[in-house]
């Protein structure tokens, strides 16, 4: 605890268990695939073997004739396009006339069992006319021709435009050319971030049920029940009031379940068609094709600095490889530039980002959406600037911090900011001052910092309604029921709401029940994305609890003939601390309130402040009610003969505002650092080209060959919580789920440089790539540990 009022709390800040931890760790939690409905059919989706082709014809007659098959569905039956971003609806539940990547859905079957459904897929005859394939985003952006001829993956939005462009964003703040011209020192470089995917343990699964009156229920392993609700109504052409989405516990998501997927529409349409419930569970291979993971970024940065270490300007150009569909791509394109403007004070900043369509599975949001890639490039570039200017990189970062209660160069409002404390925490814990540049050749330390949003300030579809809603109900038994619109995807949202309710009502945690994830009886929350839940839903929960608590306190005060403000609810009792005889069990307090006010319930909601964004087009994207801050130091061991990098330890300091439960915050910090570490060393979602078998074929759609680190590979992870107590967060809390991922990757890159003196500006830092960099340095006779700035100054002086 390095800052912030400790606060006088009974539950908040305690190291408590998750309320669903026991059920999940003992296998009792029922995930979507655990559910079996009477008469349920099993569905399978036929997928395109071609990366780009026109569908000439589909003949499903033989499949329909197969015994055990109840229904076959093709794209023409669901022609309404959808897309998570309302401005880019470019997907169909199943391909209508064109397939755009290997794995694109073409038809779906519902049958008595999976084997019969698979057999039926083999009987569907699809005639394709092959179209040109583009895998490289730069080539896609240079394409000329027509959509009809297959030169473009999507129809151009305007006559004469390139149909392979999802979005272009060019924004400039301050005088970049002037700033760079005035710089004493400058570093320019290209960086490549390879695509990676989420690889959550639970594959996507959905069940559709259509009931007689025309009412649809879909159970789905989604992070966004509300957006799924909207899109189901749209694509199935149903009244939204006739659609119900149920979200069972979700077995991990990381952004990979934050938009609708083909299976959700297919189970709904097949259920309508067959009159039976239908379940579809993706294979692991299908999860890799569904993807929506981290975009590959091709980045160029130029950064200027004065001799005394003040940044003067940053210029960036980025090409995003989007894959076949837009997904969140419009937002990703903005995020690629907008989220770089903290934690450092950039006096001038320009970015030029373009997202291209390619014939590969669509990219989308993965933990740290759109900002992990530029953060890698920029934090490495800062390290190079420090090297050039003779600064300790820790010191260089300190010289340029943004500060709290201010605006960034792109006008985003920043409130609390604990970044300096984060830097101090990792500097101290890692022994940075004594060990950086002083470890033997082959061993090194690296630092990096970052920021992230606590929820996106504006909803995906423009509206003035609350972002988060919750309903709380108490009764004479003493229990508290929370009806939460939140999405529990393993991160602990249900638990956080229970802690808040227990704190506010003073009841034991076991007496709080959280009911969640059913659009028929929980209020709307927009979903578990952009690290918005603790901040937004947490505020909604505090709001509901306090309304209800006021009724309890006033009833108790009336009974005591005292002041409602003097009534405290805590430790299972209602009492007045100033009057020793005024104390009663909380159950009695609830009974007094129920007698006084009737049945007790309240709703609460949260909506974002409206004045926290930039005044230019696109200035709302990247705006958040609060920002988290993180710093990492990584320690690595590099084998100079093999190029094998072993990450020994990562020190993680994260400003989460206030930790509602430090155990969960530390879990998020460790999990984030682990995920970044995996992307740094191993993970890559890559595809074969025409010279290697088949263009657009996923290299390795399995967990054997898409390598993620095992527990044996994983470094020691040491979490240091920094609490800056945000003025607008619930009890001061901000996000902790995504921010702590960002610095892992550049900290490891910078540590490799400290260890062996080579720069690896392309991800991942796999043994072959590091070995090539080492060989190049060896041949050039410059394979050595870089000098400490103190020694460099001494050398310069002598």
């Amino acid at each position: 605890m390095s800052r912030g009022e400790r606060g006088d709390f009974a539950v908040i800040g305690q190291r408590l268990r998750k309320i669903d931890g026991l059920a999940k760790s003992t296998g009792r939690a029922a995930y979507t695939d655990d559910l079996v409905l009477p008469g349920m059919l099993h569905g399978k989706i036929l997928r395109s073997p071609h990366p780009h082709a026109r569908i000439v014809s589909i003949d499903t007659s033989r499949a329909e004739a197969l015994e055990g098959v109840h229904g076959v569905l093709t794209g023409g039956e669901l022609p309404t396009p959808y897309g998570i971003i309302p401005w880019t609806p470019d997907e169909n539940a199943l391909a209508v006339d064109r397939v755009r990547y290997v794995g694109d859905g073409v038809a779906a079957v519902a049958a008595v069992d999976e084997d019969t459904a698979l057999q039926a897929l083999d009987l569907i005859e699809v005639e394709y006319e092959l179209l040109p394939v583009v895998l490289d985003p730069r080539q896609a952006l240079e394409a000329k021709g027509t959509y009809e001829a297959g030169d473009y993956i999507h129809p151009p939005r305007k006559e004469g435009w390139n149909g392979n462009v999802t979005k272009m964003v060019k924004l400039e703040f301050g005088d970049v050319d002037g700033g760079l011209a005035a710089a004493d020192l400058e570093v320019e470089g290209e960086y490549w971030f390879e695509g990676t995917t989420h690889a959550a343990i639970e594959p996507h699964c959905a069940i559709g049920l259509f009931e007689g009156t025309g009412r649809l229920t879909v159970w789905s392993s989604t992070q966004v029940p509300h957006y799924l609700h909207r899109e189901l109504a749209r694509v199935l052409r149903l009244d939204p009031a006739e659609v119900r989405v149920i979200q069972p516990p979700v077995g991990g998501a990381f952004g990979g379940k934050s938009e609708p997927f083909d299976l959700e529409f297919c189970v709904a349409a097949l259920a309508r068609k067959t009159g039976r419930p239908v379940k579809i569970l993706y294979t692991r291979e299908e999860v890799f094709y569904a993807h929506r993971g981290r975009h590959p970024f091709d980045m160029w940065y130029r950064t200027g600095m004065t001799r005394d270490g003040r940044l003067t300007g940053v210029d960036a150009r980025i090409v995003l490889d989007g894959g076949a569909y837009a997904s969140f791509g419009l937002v990703t394109t903005y995020y690629s530039g907008q989220l770089l403007t903290a934690p450092y004070d950039l006096p001038a900043y320009r970015f030029d980002s373009t997202r291209a369509y390619t014939n590969k599975p669509a990219c989308g949001p993965k933990r740290g959406h759109g900002s992990v890639q530029p953060r890698f490039a920029f934090e490495v570039q800062l390290d190079k600037l420090a090297q050039l200017g003779g600064f300790d990189p820790m010191e260089l970062r300190r010289k340029n911090v943004l500060g709290s209660h201010t605006r960034t160069i792109n006008e985003l409002r920043v409130t609390s900011n604990g970044f300096l404390e984060c830097l101090e925490a990792v500097e101290r814990a890692s022994g940075w001052k004594e060990r950086w540049r002083r470890l033997p050749f082959g061993r090194g330390l690296g630092v990096a910092g970052s920021t992230y949003i606590s929820g996106t300030n504006y909803p995906i579809y423009p509206n003035d309604m609350p972002q988060s809603g919750i309903q709380v109900q108490i009764d004479r038994s003493g229990r508290v029921a929370v009806f939460s619109g939140g999405s529990e995807i393993g991160q602990g949202t249900d638990s956080a709401m229970a802690y808040i309710a227990a704190e506010e009502f003073g009841v034991p945690l076991e007496h709080v029940r959280v009911y969640r994830g059913d659009t028929d009886f929980t209020p709307v929350d927009l979903g578990a994305y952009s690290s918005r839940v603790t901040f937004m839903l947490g505020n909604a929960c505090v709001d509901a609890c306090r309304r209800l608590k006021a009724q309890v306190c006033s009833a108790v005060a009336e009974y005591w003939e005292g002041d409602p403000d003097a009534v405290i609810l805590r430790g299972g009792r209602a009492f007045d601390p100033a009057e020793a005889d005024r104390s009663m069990p909380i159950r009695q307090a609830f009974q007094l309130a129920e007698a006084r006010w009737g049945t007790l319930g309240a709703t609460g909601s949260y909506n974002t402040p409206k004045d926290v964004h930039g005044s230019y087009r696109g200035g709302t994207i990247g705006a958040s009610p609060a920002y988290s801050f993180t710093a990492h130091v990584a320690e690595v061991e590099v084998d100079p003969e093999t190029g094998v990098v072993r990450v020994e330890k990562i020190w993680i300091a994260h400003d989460c505002g206030r930790a509602l439960n430090p155990v969960l915050v530390e879990g998020q910090m460790e999990g984030s650092a682990y995920m970044g570490f995996g992307e740094a060393l191993m993970e890559e979602q890559v595809f074969k080209d025409a010279d290697h078998g088949r263009a657009g074929l996923h290299d390795a759609p399995s967990l054997l060959d898409y390598r993620m680190p095992t527990s044996l590979d994983t470094p020691d992870l040491e979490a240091h919580i920094v609490e800056s107590v945000d003025p607008e967060g619930p009890y001061g809390a901000k996000e902790a789920g995504e921010g702590p991922l960002h610095p892992s990757i550049p900290a490891i890159a910078n540590a490799i440089h400290d260890a062996v003196g080579v720069r690896v500006d392309r991800l991942p830092f796999s043994p072959p790539r590091v070995w090539r960099a080492l060989e190049e340095a060896r041949r050039a006779g410059r394979l050595a540990k870089p000098a400490h700035p103190a020694e460099r100054v001494a050398e310069g002086a002598s």
Binding site: H692, G693, L712
Partner: protein, 335 residues
């Protein structure tokens, strides 16, 4: 989840019954022990046998015996049991280490030594689902007529990827094979053939029953595995080296095997003239360079072949250096 094709499952208790089942069902039958290689391959539709003959209950394939200078290991002994067996650890610890480096604990609890010796070759164009291979247009090893690795010729170059055979070769082990016609023994050194489609001398109707490892107290052996992560990863390169040490510390014979590159383990050659009683750094470097010169990895895995090639002398050199300090029981280290 991927579905298995339909098959009939047999679980004989006697070897003779198992052999009879193989004779009766011919090409339609395959034996299965731990199933950790075959079952995923069946899910990928690389094999669709109508009959599976399980070996787990066959007594003749069980047990580890230490018998007058020979370790006699049943083919159905699990890799986990092998790696923990005190006799194996005492007399052939490099083999225990090789077994311990296979996949992860759950898989080693099922996978067997016989299965590891018979492991199907692996390739990025082969170990994929039926959908994936359909999109590819199939390959030489299964259902197709093109090798996507070499793009020419009729030779399959899928990689031998098992961890234990290099150690078994260096230790001069042999496998015992039984069929309804009788039995035969084949040295592991001669067991593999240079054909990625079917890379062993196992014949139709035969079952690999036991692996016999002669133990010479003067022999030291070491084993190294290069992989990208520390568990659940096939080798990118496996090296086993062995040498006979006289009581004065002089080295009389050095043998080495490298695998993970081509369709069979490579017995390193051209070492004899370099061995002159000593295993000092110069000798090690010379041996390692000669090893590197004879290995040419292909793009049968999705890992930079140039790097894999460069790692041959590095790993062979490290394995040889380990020998100097290894006791008679051998040693292993991991990359």
């Amino acid at each position: 989840m991927l579905r298995l094709p339909r098959y009939e499952y047999h679980r004989p208790r006697r070897l003779d019954d198992a052999l009879q089942l193989l004779d009766r069902h011919g090409d339609e039958a395959r034996v299965v022990a731990g199933g950790t290689d075959l079952i995923p391959n069946m899910k990928h539709r690389l094999f669709e046998p109508g009959h599976l003959v399980a070996l787990s209950a066959v007594e003749e394939l069980q047990g580890i015996r230490w018998d007058d200078g020979v370790l006699d290991v049943g083919a159905a002994v699990t890799l986990d049991a092998l790696s923990r067996n005190p006799e194996v650890r005492r007399h052939a610890s490099a083999l225990a280490d090789a077994a311990r480096h296979v996949a992860g604990p759950q898989i080693r609890n099922r996978a067997t030594l016989g299965g590891n010796v018979c492991l199907d070759t692996r390739c990025t164009y082969y170990n994929q689902t039926e959908f994936w291979r359909t999109a590819l247009g199939f390959c030489l090893k299964k259902d197709g007529d093109t090798c996507h690795v070499t793009r020419v010729g009729r030779k399959c170059v899928a990689a031998h990827s098992a961890d234990t055979p290099p150690v078994l070769m260096v230790l001069d082990a042999e496998v015992e094979l039984r069929s309804s016609k009788g039995s035969r023994a084949v040295p592991v050194r001669e067991w593999f053939v240079a054909d990625g489609i079917h890379n062993t001398r196992l014949e139709a109707g035969e079952i690999l029953t036991r692996i016999r490892i002669p133990i010479h107290p003067a022999t030291r052996c070491s084993y190294r595995k290069l992989r990208q992560r520390q568990a659940v990863d096939f080798p990118l390169l496996t090296v086993a080296v062995g040498a006979d040490f006289a009581s004065d510390g002089r080295v009389s014979e050095i043998r080495g095997v490298v695998t993970g590159l081509g369709s069979r383990p490579r017995w390193l050659t051209g070492w004899d003239d370099l061995v002159d009683g000593s295993l000092d750094d110069d000798v090690v470097d010379a041996l390692a360079q000669r090893a590197g010169a004879q290995c040419r990895p292909l793009e049968n895995m999705i890992v930079d072949p140039e790097w894999r090639r460069a790692m041959v002398p590095v790993e062979v050199g490290r394995a040889l250096r380990t020998l100097r300090s290894a006791g008679p029981a051998g040693a292993s280290l991991e990359a």
